[in-house]
């Protein structure tokens, strides 16, 4: 194809555009586009860049609070963490590339999200992730798991940003479409934040970072299509990451940001030079004229089409104040990075590209962004579905010890040590000792202060599948609870909404329901959404993944010396259960892992109870009266107790009346705390005076976890079962 190619319906279809969308393009342009222009429209209007199926619903999410400095719409969201400091964060998917080429797919996912954060002036301080793999015995999984983990580690370790936590699940629905969601948190001075809106006609547009090659062309379009069996042929559209260059780019950008030379800055992510220039121009209400001959190029004879659609990594676009080019150039040369003035801001409102003395494209910017299609896709959702399951509705177990060992030794609850030991989780010297991976939330001290950020990612796709609204609520509530259990005050979330094909009403119904639930929880908990990403078409050969709205939550410990962790600290401490237990076993891990059944609906999330119980727990941690707390989630109370015992090599003697519903039920809004005996009375009184369900259930001590006459298992046996899943799996499959 050449630039003069006549646009046929086939070419339109190859660009993932519908005939109706092409008509909209003709209307916007007032003429037939050339191939470069069509390519630009196709990536800007791809699902990945335009959110055309989702934005109608995303608009309903709460995005504001007193501490929100910047909500969705910029490269990342920003919250105030006091003392003129801001936390900047976002989560993003890199699902399709990671299935095709797991190492590079995951690595460039990390690189991309890092750039979203440091482009706003923040030094990245923590990486997180949310990973979903297929069944462990699926033939592709060993390669995918080890490749993704190595890719995340390979990139994060080299740039020197600690990977401090995340989550990993296994489910059949991801066999043909794994999920790799990466999150970065950064810290900036509140008065030194950089935005992307271009301004100042005549100001220079500057390209910095790596050279542009042919890698990743049409990555955004690929991310907006379903997979088929020949998807591996798409390997050339997966980008290749260079963390060394990224590290230099971080340092060079932060060095330049310390001056006043930058007007606007944006990283080149999905759809590269196209989306960065279009978004900067659109936000500033200006035009861009770019001379593509000046774009640093890695390969020969690149066309305008290729340059505009390349997704080569580690590149940024900036608008500088006039006359500051030499100053900026010296910084980038010091760091051995390319620096090129490639154009200037105009008042035409158009994106005008010249190449070899001719105009290669001339598109009005406004319609590229504002006129992008927006769909109200039909959806089916049974909001009133309520099929709770209690102990009497499901099989019991004869041997609780074996059931517990099987759960904590199974793929979904086993230790993730094999994964996080491949990530440098301590570099930068601020990962608190009890905030390393494996706890409820990672704790990263704000450098040079006594504050810490509590960071977590979570989602329970089983629940979202069974009841999208409750599942959406629960995903938010669980991250809120994770942060609370460390003593942190939850402040805001980012999300990564991974769903199947939105053109199918039942999938769209999952999406709409999850957004409703998420919105309700965010609103009630005063825990707004400040950034996010949508990944649709996660299907292979017409089979969708479980709906997976992954949530990344960030909270603040104003005084990090008052914090709690999951491990028991002292023999003789009193074990306390906070929250009500009805014994909900619908959509539980108990059913799935022990009986292979997925049925029923999960416990409803009582947001009022969630808030009340959580605020109580946090208030006690903040006084310094307790230092041991763990929230109850998948697997229920017994698994929570086992995790606390394993983390401390200490047993506990628990007295509990009840059945498998009591021990394995997944009721929400619950925590287990260990309280020093001499503090118990005061804490209990505080609970009673505020009507918090508070129950003394046992004592820390001994080498075994003992629960009345049902459970008696050595902590060392629990640990053996818990730690062996990954090592054994890879000793078989390596």
């Amino acid at each position: 194809m050449t630039e003069q190619t006549k646009i046929t319906p086939e070419i339109v279809a190859e660009h993932g555009l519908t005939p109706e969308e092409y008509d909209l393009i003709l209307e916007s342009m007032g003429r037939e586009p050339n191939l470069t222009e069509l390519g630009i429209f196709s990536v800007m209007w791809s699902e990945h860049c335009s959110y055309k199926s989702s934005k109608l619903h995303l608009k309903t999410l709460p995005t504001e609070a007193d501490w929100v400095i910047c909500g969705p719409g910029e490269n990342a969201g920003i919250i105030d963490i006091g003392d003129n400091q801001a936390a900047i964060f976002k989560m993003e998917s890199h699902n399709h590339p990671s299935y095709i080429e797991p190492y590079q797919g995951a690595a460039t996912g990390v690189g991309g999200i890092l750039r979203d954060v440091f482009t706003m002036g923040a030094r990245p301080v923590a990486n997180m992730n949310a990973l979903r793999f297929g069944m462990p015995d699926h033939p592709k999984m060993p390669h995918l798991i080890s490749g993704v983990v190595a890719g995340i580690g390979g990139y994060g370790n080299c740039v020197g940003v600690p990977t401090v936590g995340g989550e990993t699940d296994f489910d059949e629905s991801y066999n043909g479409n794994i999920l790799v969601n990466a999150m970065t948190v950064g810290i900036a001075d509140s008065n030194k934040i950089f935005y992307s809106a271009a301004a100042g006609v005549g100001n220079p547009v500057v390209y910095v970072g790596s050279k542009t090659g042919r890698d990743g062309i049409h990555g955004a379009t690929m991310a907006s299509a379903e997979f088929t069996d020949d998807s591996e042929e798409k390997r050339p559209t997966v980008q290749v990451g260079d963390p060394f260059t990224e590290k230099l780019l971080i340092e060079a950008c932060l060095e330049l940001m310390a001056s006043d030379a930058i007007v606007a800055i944006q990283d080149m992510g999905a759809a590269g030079l196209t989306s960065s220039s279009v978004e900067m121009a659109s936000k500033g209400g200006v035009g861009f004229e770019l001379n593509l001959d000046n774009v640093p190029q890695r390969e020969e004879n690149m066309t305008p089409y290729e340059m505009m659609l390349s997704e080569s990594q580690e590149r940024m676009l900036m608008v500088l104040k006039p006359g500051r080019e030499d100053f900026a150039k010296a910084i980038f040369e010091k760091w051995d990075l390319d620096f090129a003035v490639i154009g200037e801001i105009t008042d035409t409102g158009n994106l005008t590209l010249t190449f070899k003395g001719e105009v290669a494209a001339d598109i009005p910017v406004a319609p590229l962004v504002d006129k992008s299609p927006e769909y109200d896709r039909p959806w089916n959702l049974d909001a009133d579905k309520y099929e709770p399951l209690f102990a009497g509705d499901v099989d019991g177990v004869s041997d609780y010890n074996q059931a517990l060992l099987k759960l904590i030794g199974g793929p979904n609850l086993s230790s993730r040590r094999w994964i996080w030991e491949q990530y440098d989780h301590m570099v930068m010297g601020d990962t608190l000792g009890d905030g390393r991976p494996g706890g409820d939330a990672a704790l990263v001290r704000v450098h040079g202060t006594n504050k810490a950020l509590a960071i977590t990612t979570d989602c329970t796709p089983r629940y979202v599948q069974a009841h999208p609204i409750e599942g959406g609520k629960q995903a938010v509530a669980e991250t809120w609870r994770n942060i609370t259990a460390t003593g942190g005050r939850p402040l805001a979330i980012t999300n990564c909404l991974n769903f199947g094909n939105p053109e199918r009403p039942e999938i769209m119904g999952q999406f709409v329901g999850a957004i409703q639930g998420m919105g309700a929880a965010c609103k009630f908990l005063e825990y707004p959404v400040i950034s996010g990403n949508v990944s649709l078409y996660n299907e292979t050969n017409g089979k969708g993944i479980k709906p997976t709205p992954a949530i990344g939550g960030v909270g603040l410990l104003a005084d990090a010396s008052k914090r709690a962790s999951v491990n028991f600290k002292r023999e003789g401490d009193i074990v306390v259960l906070v929250g009500e237990t009805e014994g909900h076993l619908g959509a539980s891990l108990y059913l799935k892992e022990l009986f292979g059944e997925e049925r029923g609906t999960p416990a409803k999330v009582d947001l009022a109870a969630e808030k009340r119980n959580g605020n109580f727990v946090r208030s006690i941690i903040e006084t310094g009266d307790i230092d041991t707390c763990h929230d109850i989630s998948g697997g229920g109370l017994l698994v929570t107790l086992a995790e606390m015992a394993m983390a401390s090599n200490m047993g506990a003697n628990i007295t509990l009346d009840g059945d498998h519903g009591t021990l394995f039920g997944e009721d929400q809004a619950r925590y287990v705390m260990a309280v020093a005996a001499d503090k118990l009375d005061d804490i209990q009184e505080a609970a009673q005076s505020t009507n918090i369900p508070f129950k003394v259930i046992g004592t820390v001590g001994g080498d075994n976890l003992v629960v009345t006459d049902k459970v008696n298992v050595a902590v060392s046996d629990l640990k053996n079962a818990h730690e062996s899943f990954f090592p054994e799996y890879f000793s078989k499959h390596d």
């Binding site: 996080w420 440098d424 000792g433």
Partner: protein
């Protein structure tokens, strides 16, 4: 105590090292860029961890040939304390200041965890504040930490007490299981014959305060202060 931290492109533990040195030495170290030909007059030069030049050739190989290293070698030969951690250790072997080489971990994977180490030689300017044979816990975070040297070199290192740290279990036994990266003789850190250049894979600078999970690393820097005071 006056110190300097050498910064290579994609060093990434330079700030961690600087924080530790300032906390324990009481003075901010000079940060010296790899392109510099001179280093201020200091008593202690640290080569930090990271991925200098991306480690795209061999770990530490490019950094060993950067302009500043000529000066580091000169200072080392003058008897100044030179301390390389992780990538810094790799730079020291690549530059010939220490013998041997660091190969890919035996398990082929990056490893980040706390490791137990035995202080095999506490008669050095870096370890005099530890007990002889003391078992300490420092984090490791590396992909290429598998120490290798030829038989004669190994023999000489052992005979001269140049093996300063060895990977051990919690009880202090240098078992194969405790040898996390497959290093010969469980070697985690070595010193030159003159006793002023120490290289090690583990990161003492990462555990210098209780909040971060322990402070076993502090005594290494305190040893350097004591040694200077007694010099």
């Amino acid at each position: 105590m006056k110190s300097a931290v050498i910064v290579f492109p994609a060093s990434n533990c330079d700030r961690d090292m600087a924080v530790a040195l300032e906390k324990i030495f009481g003075e901010k170290p000079a940060m010296v860029w790899h392109g510099e030909a001179t280093i201020p007059d200091v008593d202690f030069i640290a080569l930090p961890g990271g991925f200098s030049y991306g480690d795209y050739l061999r770990s530490g190989a490019m950094a060993a040939r950067s302009p500043v290293m000529a000066e580091v070698i000169k200072r080392a030969n003058d008897g100044v304390s030179v301390f390389g951690v992780c990538n810094g250790f790799q730079v020291l072997t690549e530059s010939g200041l220490l013998p041997g080489a660091l190969m890919r971990n035996a398990g082929l994977k990056f490893i980040c965890k706390d490791a137990y180490l035995k202080v095999e030689n506490n008669q050095t300017r870096f370890t005099n504040k530890y007990e002889a044979g003391e078992v300490v816990r420092y984090p490791v975070a590396h992909h290429d930490g598998n120490y290798f040297a030829d038989a004669d070199t190994l023999k000489a290192l052992e005979e001269n007490n140049q093996v300063v740290y060895r990977y051990v279990d919690a009880e202090g036994n240098a078992t194969p299981e405790a040898n996390i990266n497959g290093s010969q003789n469980n070697i985690a850190g070595i010193i030159n014959k003159a006793g002023n250049v120490l290289g090690m894979m583990p990161h003492p600078e990462r555990l210098i305060e209780h909040d971060l999970g322990g402070d076993d690393g502090r005594a290494l820097f305190e040893s350097a202060i004591a040694a200077l005071a007694n010099a």
